[in-house]
């Protein structure tokens, strides 16, 4: 059977998430993850007993101050007596976690797997949690914004993109979030002028072009073909999934459009039989923690030619009613429980092809891409989900 292993098709039959807010002081970490897990089980019409294994992911343990918190969460997630895996691939972890869970079904190791990602950022201060102590990092490089702003500036320089593109993305995503009851930021009175007038944090990134710090969790139930047949709601089918990594810093690294990102996308498109992503993909949930990353990733993921991503954004194509809606959920710019942010992208892509995205549904979405990245633009995870089962 070498080289000719037949994979089990994987279906997303349950999705649950918490209402994301700055601080969920009413629940413990266990209470937070359980809320998302119970909603995913209810959506799938399953109980804890139907779950064969649990795959959990989150970003650095310092964000909550708990080392390997999955040990403590085993009880809350019904994992006692079951296999439990804990994934950590930096900001891409939510996506990677879903892919590890998907592989368990695809390899026929398990039939039905609960996968979950979370962050309870209010337990600590994420910006300082991300800031390495001297001497590992210079003292002024506080938080992710300080790291990524120079790459955004490099993109603007390289493509001659006009200054206002970033504000267009933020204005779009924050308006999309108004249609998503789970989103953290609901800025009813948002205007483009307000975005443009917001304080400059890390030039050229303004306050309103920056992701919030959220408490939240996201869970999915993945199952095999037989499990999908029993599901009460239409499943989303995994057509392709991949991870790619490259080192943080090295001579010749393209921090604006990292090769790990484009390689990862190419692998997913190959698996899914996608040859023209712009035409064939109906909705994209991509990891945009700072507004400018939308045009940057549009190029990196093959939706636009090099240097043309900002034009796609400017044209309105990525609006909810455009021909390539990007982040209809409001994205990371509106909701950012870091460890869960990647899984939220994957789950929102699945909601779109299941036709269950509510007010932010992209009409007729049949194929959607979920994308996550992390570290110094070096870890990528993506999946492509469809309304129909994969061909093979």
């Amino acid at each position: 059977m070498n080289g000719t292993v037949s994979k089990e098709p994987v279906a997303v039959v349950g999705i649950g998430q918490t209402r994301h807010v700055a601080a969920r002081r009413d629940v413990s970490i266990a209470g937070l993850v359980r809320e998302a897990a119970v909603r995913a089980l209810e959506d799938a019409g399953l109980t804890w007993a139907d779950i064969d294994a649990v795959v959990i992911g989150k970003a650095p343990d310092f964000f909550e101050g708990v080392m390997m918190p999955e040990l403590y969460l085993a009880d809350a997630l019904g994992a006692v007596g079951k296999p439990m895996l804990r994934v950590h691939t930096a900001g891409s972890v939510g996506g990677s976690t879903a892919l590890v869970a998907s592989n368990l079904v695809s390899a026929r190791v398990h039939r039905t797997v609960l996968t979950l990602a979370f962050e309870k950022q209010s337990e600590s201060n994420a910006m300082w949690g991300l800031s390495l102590p001297v001497p590992f990092q210079q003292p002024l490089l506080a938080g992710a914004g300080g790291f990524f702003a120079p790459h955004v500036r490099a993109y603007m320089h390289r493509t001659a993109a006009p200054d206002h593109i970033g504000s267009l993305v933020a204005f779009k995503d924050r308006r999309n979030a108004l249609k998503n009851p789970y989103a953290h930021l609901h800025e009813e009175d948002i205007t483009l002028e307000k975005v443009r007038a917001s304080p400059m944090l890390w030039d050229p990134i303004r306050y309103s072009e920056t992701c919030p710090s959220s408490d939240g969790a996201c869970a999915m139930v993945l199952t095999d073909r037989e499990g999908a047949g029993r599901a009460p709601h239409p499943p989303a089918w995994v057509h392709g999934g991949a991870m790619r990594s490259e080192p943080t810093l090295f001579a010749g690294k393209d921090a604006v459009s990292p090769r790990a990102g484009s390689d990862c996308a190419a692998d997913v498109y190959r698996q899914a039989g996608i040859t023209d992503p712009r035409r064939e993909i109906d909705a994209v949930e991509m990891y945009v923690p700072f507004s400018w990353y939308e045009p940057m990733w549009l190029e990196n993921l093959g939706f636009a030619e090099e240097g043309e991503g900002w034009k796609l954004t400017e044209s309105g194509a990525t609006e909810l009613d455009g021909d390539l809606p990007v982040n209809p959920s409001g994205g990371v710019l509106s909701t950012n429980p870091i460890g869960a942010s990647g899984m939220l992208r994957f789950a929102e892509a699945a909601l779109q092809v299941r036709g269950q995205a509510g007010d932010h549904q992209v009409e007729g979405a049949r194929k959607a891409l979920g994308h996550a990245y992390g570290g110094g633009s070096q870890f990528f995870s993506m999946w492509l989900v469809g309304a129909e089962p994969p061909a093979s």
Binding site: G3, D61, Y72, V87, P247
Partner: protein, 383 residues
């Protein structure tokens, strides 16, 4: 589960484990191990289909500590890669599943831990329930002492028997050039020493260790091409128990037993393993694991011929090393069927069991026999 596809450990490497690698970063500690393990297979990092690692930010004392380790792999052009915040044994599990999907033929697995960066028993208190237990800072040695006391009270062991486990393990490590503690005082001498946390003496506790390890996995014919004597993973499974010590029977390890059962360890046709590499950082935990794995006290199974975690315990790598040691013994022709075990969490909360076997006699050179065995799902006859 038992493996539906032939997957084997084809190479294993580890550091010479020491109390503190003050002059080395994690990458510098890891790099020679990665070069060694890839060198054994003749492959470059870029030829590996999937890479997976295990480590902990809390040991390093900084977020994203694993990202630096990628520099040691040489992840350029970009590689298909993942990381678990768990012992490397679970990274190996993820890599094994990746190969089972058919998406990879080979995988590089590595893990590392520099416990010297902090006070390990204190650091491990941060693993405990953050609301009700961690604020009390109960250290890992004290919790293991509670478990040892429960075992003694149940009549499962006594301090002399535990000292015997310590002496046997470290005497075995005399033959292991990678071990940190090699050789032991006799039991009577050990028992005259002070308690560290009653009933545990210093000799009952694993040393604090800096170290790293790496394994290469390969499927079917690729494994046969890369190694003259691959150690086939016949089954692997892992299970977790409740977190609270108060709701568990600390003298037993049902998660280990269930994982072993799912991994095919108890298959009557295959017979008991001749080798067991158990991840028991405390002598008392070997007692629990022997019971769960039905190893008994007899001579049919060599337990921890490497010396085990009691001879070197690089946290996050010590479990992966058990799999590597078991595989190395098979590849060296010293074992036909081995069980390897890894643990995580307080008092054996989470456990992984892998069953490894040598190529069945008569199929050593022919790939046809191996392929047939996989196709009809049979386990193969280890004899």
């Amino acid at each position: 589960m038992t493996s539906p596809r032939e997957v084997a450990v084809v190479a294993f490497a580890q550091t010479d484990h020491v109390r503190a690698t003050d002059g080395l970063s994690e990458v510098e500690m890891l790099l020679p191990v990665l070069r060694d393990v890839l060198g054994q297979t003749g492959m470059a990092a870029g030829e590996i289909d999937f890479t997976c690692s295990g480590s902990s930010d809390y040991l390093a004392g900084r977020a994203f500590s694993f990202t630096m380790a990628l520099d040691g792999v040489g992840a350029w052009p970009p590689i298909s890669e993942s990381h678990v915040e768990m012992d490397g044994a679970w990274a190996l599990y993820e890599a094994w599943v990746k190969i089972l999907t058919g998406e990879a033929e080979t995988a590089l697995v590595y893990s590392f831990g520099k416990s010297s960066a902090g006070d390990l028993p204190e650091v491990l208190t941060r693993q405990l329930d953050p609301y009700y237990v961690a604020p009390l800072w109960p250290d890992s040695v004290s919790l293991a002492a509670l478990q040892a006391r429960a075992l003694i009270d149940a009549g499962d062991t006594d301090e002399r028997a535990l000292a015997g486990i310590a002496a046997r393990s470290r005497e075995s490590a005399r033959d292991n050039s990678h071990a940190q503690l090699r050789g032991s005082e006799p039991v009577d001498t050990l028992l005259r020493g002070d308690h560290l946390a009653q009933p545990l003496h210093t000799h009952d506790v694993a040393p604090v260790t800096d170290g790293a390890a790496a394994v290469v996995l390969a499927a079917g014919d690729t494994a046969r091409r890369l190694s003259d004597n691959p150690a086939w993973i016949r089954g692997m499974d892992h299970r977790i128990e409740a977190h609270s010590l108060g709701v568990r029977d600390l003298t037993d390890s049902p998660s280990t037993r269930l994982a072993a059962e799912r991994a095919g360890l108890f298959d009557e046709a295959a017979g008991p393993p001749d080798t067991a590499e158990l991840h028991a950082p405390f002598t008392s935990q070997e007692v629990v694991l022997r019971k769960a794995l039905r190893l008994g006290d007899g001579d049919h199974t060599a337990v921890n011929p490497s010396g085990g975690a009691l001879a070197a315990n690089p946290v996050m790598a010590a479990g992966l090393i058990r799999i590597g040691e078991a595989a190395a013994r098979i590849s060296a022709g010293a074992s036909r069927r081995a069980v390897a075990h890894a643990t995580s969490g307080p008092c054996l909360q989470q456990n992984l069991v892998a069953v490894l076997e040598a190529t069945p006699a008569g199929a050593a050179t022919g790939t046809a026999a191996g392929t047939a065995a996989a196709a009809d799902g049979s386990e193969g006859d280890p004899e």
